[in-house]
C-alpha cells in the first residue's frame, strides 16, 4: 500500500519537476537569449518594484514568470470559423499529455532507505522503459498534426504537415540511437542503465555512456532537438515565416499548452541525454558507502546523503543540458525544409544504422557486456 502512495507522490513530483523545468526554460528563453544577443530582454512588468529595490532592475522575473502566464491563461479562447470544435480543443492536450507522462519513467535517484522502507527513486519501474519512451514520442505526433488541421487555416495546415513529417522522420533516428544504447547496456530498464554507469575505468574515468557511445549521443541530441521542434529545426513554428505555424489559431490556455509542450519536450530530451549518456543520477566516484576518489582517498558518506547527492547531481546535469539546448537555439540559424529532411533520412538514419552495426560487432568481439 505504501508503495502505491510513494509511487503516486513520485509520479506527481516528476511531472511537477518537468513543468518547473519548462518554466525555467521559458525564463532562460527570455533573459538568457537577451544575454546572448546583447540586449536587455523583458523587464518592464513589476509588482511594487521588487527588482529595483534589490538593485537588479533587469531580472524580469515578474514579467516572465507571473505576467506572461497570467496573460496566457486569461485571454479569450476562440475557435476559428469553420473549424472542428472537438479537434481544436483536443489537439493541445493530445500534444502535452504524452510528454508529461514520459517524465515518470526517468530515474532521478538510486534507492533511498528511510526507516525500514526502501523506495526506488523512479516513479514507474517499467521493464521496457526504453520502448515506453518511443511509444509516447510516437503518440505526441498527433497533437501537432491535429492542431494544424483543426485550425481551418491553410498556413496552419502546412505547418502541421511539415511538423508531422519532421517528427516521424527523426523518430527513426532517435529509435536507432536508443537501440544502440540498449545493446550496449543489455537492458531496456532505465534504472538498470543508470546503475551500470557507476564504477570507473582505469581508476579515474567514470563509466558514463558517452565514452562508450559518442556517436549515439550526437544522433540522439540532434534527433531530440528535431523532435521537440526547436531551432535549428523549428520550421514548423517558423517564427519569421509561418508566424506560429500549426499554433497560429490558438490563443489563451490552449496556446499555453502548446508552448509548454515545446519546453517540456526540451526538458525531456535533456533528461534522456543525461540518463543514457551521463550516468543519470550517478555522481562520479560516489558509491553506496562514500567517495572512492582516484588518489585512494575514501570519504564516508551516510546512505541517505548518497541518495540525495544523486538527486542533486541529476538535477544539475539536466539543468546544464537545458542550458545547452537553449544555447544551441540562439546560436544556429534555421534549417530549410529539404535540408532538414535530407539530414534526417540521408544523414542520421545511415549513421544510426552504422552505429548499431559497429556496436554489434564490438559486443560480439568482446563477448558480452560493453
Amino acid at each position: 500500500m505504501i508503495e502505491l502512495v510513494v509511487g503516486a507522490i513520485e509520479a506527481i513530483l516528476m511531472v511537477l519537476v518537468g513543468l518547473q523545468l519548462s518554466i525555467f526554460l521559458l525564463y532562460f528563453e527570455r533573459k538568457g537569449s537577451a544575454l546572448i544577443q546583447d540586449r536587455v530582454g523583458a523587464n518592464r512588468a513589476a509588482i511594487t518594484g521588487l527588482g529595483r529595490k534589490l538593485g537588479m532592475p533587469n531580472l524580469g522575473i515578474v514579467n516572465t514568470l507571473v505576467a506572461d502566464p497570467v496573460k496566457l491563461f486569461t485571454k479569450e479562447d476562440f475557435v476559428p470559423d469553420g473549424a472542428d470544435h472537438f479537434l481544436h480543443a483536443l489537439a493541445p492536450f493530445l500534444a502535452l499529455f504524452p510528454v508529461l507522462i514520459t517524465f515518470v519513467v526517468i530515474p532521478f535517484g538510486d534507492t533511498i532507505t528511510i526507516g525500514r522502507h526502501t523506495f526506488n527513486l523512479q516513479a514507474a519501474n517499467l521493464n521496457a522503459a526504453a520502448l515506453y519512451l518511443l511509444a509516447t514520442i510516437g503518440i505526441g505526433v498527433y497533437g501537432v498534426s491535429l492542431g494544424g488541421w483543426a485550425s481551418n487555416n491553410r498556413w496552419a495546415l502546412l505547418g502541421g504537415i511539415r511538423a508531422t513529417a519532421q517528427m516521424i522522420s527523426y523518430e527513426i533516428a532517435m529509435g536507432l540511437a536508443i537501440v544502440a544504447i540498449v545493446m550496449t547496456y543489455g537492458t531496456l530498464d532505465l534504472q538498470e542503465m543508470c546503475r551500470s554507469q557507476g564504477g570507473v575505468w582505469f581508476g579515474f574515468l567514470p563509466r558514463w555512456g558517452i565514452f562508450v557511445q559518442p556517436l549515439a549521443f550526437i544522433i540522439l541530441l540532434t534527433a531530440g532537438i528535431a523532435e521537440s521542434k526547436r531551432v535549428p529545426f523549428d520550421l514548423p513554428e517558423g517564427e519569421s515565416e509561418l508566424i506560429l505555424g500549426y499554433m497560429v489559431e490558438y490563443s489563451g490556455g490552449k496556446q499555453a499548452a502548446f508552448m509548454f509542450t515545446d519546453f517540456a519536450e526540451q526538458a525531456l530530451v535533456a533528461m534522456l541525454l543525461v540518463t543514457f549518456f551521463f550516468g543519470g543520477w550517478q555522481v562520479p566516484w560516489l558509491y553506496r558507502d562514500g567517495f572512492h576518489l582516484p588518489g585512494g582517498y575514501f570519504i564516508h558518506v551516510a546512505s541517505i546523503l548518497v541518495s540525495i547527492l544523486g538527486v542533486i547531481a541529476f538535477l544539475i546535469k539536466v539543468l546544464m543540458f537545458c542550458i545547452l539546448l537553449g544555447l544551441v537555439r540562439w546560436t544556429l540559424p534555421r534549417f530549410r525544409y529539404d535540408q532538414l529532411m535530407r539530414l534526417g533520412w540521408k544523414g542520421l538514419v545511415p549513421l544510426g544504422l552504422a552505429n548499431v552495426l559497429v556496436t554489434a560487432f564490438i559486443i560480439v568481439a568482446t563477448g558480452g557486456a560493453h
Partner: protein, 182 residues
Amino acid sequence: MPMGLFWFLAALSVLSALGVVLQRNPLHCLLSLVLTLLTIAVLFIGQDAVVVGFLQAIVYAGAIMVLFLFVIWLLNVPVETRPTGHLAFKFFGMIAVAALLAELAVFVLPPHLKVKYSGHPAGYGSIEALAQSLFSDYLIAFEITSILLLVAVIGAVALARRSSEIEIKERAQDAARVEKAA
C-alpha cells in the same frame, strides 16, 4: 490484470471500435481507431506480452495511423453526406455478422474452451524471449518478412509517384500508335 481494469478497457475498445464504423467524419473514425489500438496495446501489456504491446503502440498507433492521417489530408476526404450504400448490403451484412458471432460464440463459451493455465515461465514476454523465438524457430519467416517490407516500400513509392514527363510522352505515343493501327 485486475478485472475492473479489464472491464474498463473492454468497454472502451468496443465503444471506440463502434466509433470507427459509425462516425461520418473520416478523421473522427481515425481517432477512434487510434484509441482502439492503444486500448488493445494496454490489454497486451496486461497479459505480460510487454514488448509486443509497446510495439503495437509504437508501430500501429504511432506510425501506420499517421500514414492514414497523411492520406486523409492529401485527398481532403470530405465528411460523408451521401447515404452509405444499398440497403441490401446492410441487411445481408447484418445477417452475415450475426452468423459469424454465433459461430464464434460456440467456440468461446466455456465447455469448448478448456485451456489450462499453468503460469508463465520467467522472462515471458520480455525482449530476450521474443528475440530467442524470432531468431531460432522463426528465422526464415523473419527474413522473408524483411524482404516483404522492402518490396512494400518499393511498391508504395512506385504506385504513388507522379509519372515523369518522359513517361507521359511515351504513353501518348503508344496511344497514338494503337489508334493508328485500329
